[in-house]
């Protein structure tokens, strides 16, 4: 089922997109190899969905090109789309049909017939939709609609799967279930690209992370490398409205209304920070110490919370 080819799953080449005067994408370059589990992160409006829409052929790039396993998404759209399964961010559904009908249609559009039914059953099972197979789309709860939306993108068993915030509005149980299912697909050789605002998810699942900000990729590395680069501890001190002593300012990663976060490489630096504060007569109101995670990486690169 997965076409053997050495071409990257996705190759994004200097892609620009503007909506009128708004520059949504600013020359994005990104290559994702086959078999990767890739996270595309970024604050609201960074351009993630715009990039995915161009990839899926829903929008045209203003400049640049994208290919899926070597097939250009504009000039060879039939081959490119055949290889691609996209879960849109918007919760859309067709009120005329039930879940199984929608999955059959979706597979049918891609040329799949009754032989595909076994796979459809597998998806329904994997996403906990088996007992909703005959329920009209309109009657599903929001979380169930999201599952059906994911199921539809998988119906033709695409080798490259793109999920735009698949876990928005989804309960913990499904999130668990969904990730188990997606991990299994990834083990079976499917390439997975997802966007999420839950950084723990990206950290736990993805082997590589790209961070976007205002239409640019601002960081691109393996999850491990990114975490290493920002390794160490986070010391979070609540100090109130104060000016930090110059000596410890380079250690500060972030501050937000009297709450200062310091990135530390070793524990000895705790003493250094506290001593400097004491010298300046700054009182520590509260103190927290924890491991740096993707959120910290994100914060220091993008300068914004997700």
């Amino acid at each position: 089922m997965i076409t053997p080819s050495s071409k990257p799953a996705i190759k994004i080449n200097n892609v620009y997109k503007n909506f009128g005067s708004l520059q949504a994408l600013n020359g994005v370059d990104l290559t994702i190899e086959q078999g990767e589990f890739f996270a595309l992160l970024g604050p609201n409006g960074a351009g993630k969905s715009t990039l995915i829409s161009i990839l899926a052929g829903l929008l045209k790039p203003s400049a640049g090109d994208i290919s899926v396993m070597g097939f250009d998404v504009v000039n060879q759209y039939q081959q490119a789309r055949q290889l691609l399964g996209v879960v849109p961010q918007e919760l859309v559904f067709d009120p005329f049909f039930n879940v199984r009908e929608m999955l059959r249609f979706q597979a049918g559009y891609f040329g799949r017939g009754p032989e595909n039914d076994i796979w459809v059953d597998e998806i329904l099972e994997g996403l906990g939709l088996a007992d909703k197979a005959h329920t009209n789309m309109r009657k599903l709860s929001g979380g169930m609609k999201r599952r059906a939306l994911i199921a539809q993108a998988l119906a033709h068993k695409p080798p490259v799967i793109v999920l735009d915030e698949p876990t928005a509005g989804v309960d913990v149980e499904l999130r668990q279930m969904l990730w188990e299912f997606i991990k299994k697909l990834n083990r079976d050789g499917h390439t997975i690209i997802l966007t999420t605002h839950y950084l723990e998810e990206a950290e736990a699942l993805c082997n590589r992370v790209g961070m976007m900000k205002q239409g640019n990729i601002v960081a691109l590395d393996s999850t491990a490398n990114l975490l290493n680069k920002f390794a160490g501890k986070n010391l979070r001190l609540t100090l109130g409205d104060v000016t930090l002593p110059l000596s410890i300012q380079p250690l500060m990663r972030h501050h937000d209304r009297g709450e200062f976060t310091f990135a530390l490489n070793d524990m000895a630096q705790i003493e250094f920070v506290l001593a400097a504060l004491r010298t300046d007569n700054i009182k520590v109101i509260d103190m927290q110490l924890n491991e740096a995670d993707l959120e910290d990486v994100f914060l220091s690169l993008v300068g914004k919370k997700l």
């Binding site: 899926a56 052929g57 829903l58 929008l59 045209k60 759209y77 039939q78 081959q79 789309r81 055949q82 691609l84 996209v86 849109p88 918007e90 859309v92 559904f93 067709d94 009120p95 005329f96 049909f97 009908e101 929608m102 059959r104 249609f105 979706q106 049918g108 559009y109 891609f110 040329g111 799949r112 017939g113 539809q152 993108a153």
Partner: protein, 271 residues
């Protein structure tokens, strides 16, 4: 043994070919189910409306008006009413399906697929034609209850119903792609489709109009569709049916070409 293998390969071949057709076929099937699921609204309701027109107009005008010598008014009216409904419903099918999926957002499910613009067009077109023809057949069956109609040229009847619904189905696709909201679509219906269909000679022969209005009517494509369709029943009409057929067919080709251009360019659908 030998024969079995050949049969097997032949079967496999059929299967491969059908796999290529499965995409557009699935879209057609979905479009047909979409209106058939709500047949009460999409089929029964226009049929009842047409039969009510027939009941009222024939009751009021029968015996007072004679358009063609030897043809009772009720009989004259029936083909026009059938064709008017065929055209309106063909338009309604493609236009409402597209505007609904655009507003609901579920049009992405089709846009994400490898279906070509030609396949997309053909699926929506055929669904519109079938909806038009189904409505037409039911009105015909209902009208049989009022009066016995003979068909002088059944092939003309079919040709006009088919081409007419193809033309309006295509126009519906254009309207569905162009409109962004339901009220824009309603304007399309009320300011273009309704006037053109009512002022097309459904209820009268244009020869009964003052000369200036005869000229105006001749600019209305609906006039040719209705006149040609009616010619199929009675063997007489206002215009030679072959000229009408050429006009309807030509208009269809022009609109189909425009629609394919729009779809290919991604106008409104893939910004």
């Amino acid at each position: 043994m030998m024969r079995l293998t050949t049969m097997n390969t032949a079967l496999k071949k059929c299967f491969t070919i059908s796999a290529a057709f499965r995409g557009p076929w699935t879209l057609l099937k979905k479009e047909l189910l979409r209106f058939w699921r709500v047949a009460f609204q999409t089929v029964a309701s226009p049929v009842i409306t047409a039969l009510l027109y027939l009941l009222i107009f024939s009751h009021v005008l029968e015996g007072h008006v004679q358009v063609y010598p030897g043809v009772p008014y009720t009989a004259f009216l029936i083909p026009g009413l059938i064709m008017m409904s065929v055209l309106q419903n063909a338009f309604a099918n493609s236009s409402s399906s597209l505007i609904q999926s655009k507003v609901m957002g579920n049009i992405v499910f089709v846009l994400l697929t490898p279906l070509t613009h030609l396949q997309f067009f053909l699926a929506f077109l055929l669904a519109a034609i079938i909806r038009g023809l189904v409505v037409g057949v039911f009105i015909y069956l209902g009208a049989m209850w009022f009066v016995d109609l003979e068909m002088v040229h059944p092939s003309l009847i079919f040709a006009f119903a088919f081409l007419g619904s193809a033309l309006l189905g295509t126009f519906g696709i254009i309207a569905g792609i162009w409109a962004d909201r339901f009220d824009q679509m309603a304007a399309f219906q009320n300011f273009i489709i309704m006037p053109l269909s009512f002022l097309s000679g459904v209820f009268y022969s244009i020869h009964s109009l003052p000369p200036i209005w005869q000229k105006v009517s001749q600019l209305n494509p609906f006039f040719y569709m209705i006149d040609g369709f009616r010619y199929g029943f009675f063997g007489k009409g206002d215009v030679c049916p072959l000229i009408s057929l050429a006009i309807v067919g030509g208009s269809f080709l022009v609109l189909a070409w425009i629609t394919l251009k729009m779809l290919k360019s991604g106008y409104k659908l893939r910004a």
